[in-house]
Amino acid sequence: MKSYIKLVNFEINRFIKIYLTLLIITLLSQFIGVIVIAKSKMDQAHEVMGEQNLSEQAYLHDYGGFTFAHFASTLWFVGPIALCIIALLFYCLMIWYRDWFGKNTFAYRLLMLPTARISLYFSKASAILLFIIGLLAFQLIILPLENTLFESLIQDNFLQTSMDVSSILQSNVMLGIILPPYFSDFLISYGIGMMFVFVLFTSILFERSFRLKGIVFGILYIIAAVLLYLSPLFILSNETYSVLYSEEIFAIFLVLGILITAASIVIGNWLISKRVLV
């Protein structure tokens, strides 16, 4: 357990600079974006009012006011979130391959540590989970600040509604996915996400163990896991599906998710303990 915690700490330290850079990019992009968008919305409004000789009331009647949702759908806001998602997806691969490639073979050192090798597997998965949770928490912390800034930059009359965090989350599709409004939805989304991470890790270990053949095994493993997880959609007819309670459908996917995650961990453990090559 102690080694596992040390390994998690070690993995976090190795990525922390890139991670902090991502947080800073998110912070800067979203705060600058708030200022730019709020200013441009106000400028546009004044321009339209000038061109069409509209009063504030007439403008608001014709075009409506502004909400934070107007900003949340722009590239300034969505861009850094997408960048973080892409970086973390890339990191899921890099977290393994960086130890094998290059002239410094750190994989030797990691695999020779006096600890169960599955700790390496879990420490890498845990580091990714912590990074994801950290990003979400960071976004949740800065969101109300951005909202306050946005509202302070928009003239009171032009502010359509003052939004709280919950209504901001529901107003944006992307935000709704990455920060689901209900805890149960959060557990489902991130449970599926972590299952995908375990499946990916095991397929990477297939490649690291069997090299060329391993690429095929790895791809087949991912396809098999996805098909198994989605199998109820293919197997159950629409009629059967429609008579099932949502709790029953949830239970089926939950069991399948647990099975796939457990299988990935068991196979991953076997690969990293017995088959992996340096």
């Binding site: 040390k6 290059g102 002239k103 410094n104 073979t105 030797y108 020779m112 088959r275 992996v276 090559l277």
Partner: protein, 229 residues
Amino acid sequence: MIEVNQLTKKFGRKKVLDGVSFTANKGEITCLIGINGVGKTTTLKAIMGLTPINKGSILIDGETINKNTYEKVAFIPDAITMLPQMTIKQAMQFMQDFYKKWNQERATELLTFFKLDEKTRISELSKGNTAKINLLMGLAIDVDYILMDEPFSGIDIFSREQITEVFTSHLIEDRGVIITTHEINDIEHLIDKVILLDNGIVLKEFNTEQMRQEEGKSVVDVMREVYIG
């Protein structure tokens, strides 16, 4: 004792090791010799569980390799196994964090002996200093056995002398060493046992002292006999 029994290893269809058996005892230096590609490094990796084997068994004091045996055997490969951005000090800290048997006093002693600065980054080390740091990382763990893969490969004569000096010091005594090297002349006088490998099999195994006394042959003489004929 490290016991390698009928070790067989294939890469694809090619058999790199074909029933290799030998033992290495504590307090002895065992040298695996052979031309490039005969399976010396693969044998060391197999002992450390860094490559799966197809047949045979490897026992370390009667145990197959497991997390506890990594506190008994240290492997010193010919590539640096620490992160390039780490300083030597950070690399030693990493080892101390994970190995119960890490001996900081010994690490500092080796650092002084090799005249290395702990603030130096791993990426800044020359080939010779890389070999020294590899040696330090292995020897500073209080293990019973040390496996060294080509410790003299591509390094200058002074570094080589320093490393050879380590072999005659208290840092090695009582430990079992398995070494692979092409630079046999540097350590011939220190080796207790030689295992000559070729085409994945053990061609000859002999005690160097016995060979010297009974047949008057050096290791190089035997190598010439076996490989050249």
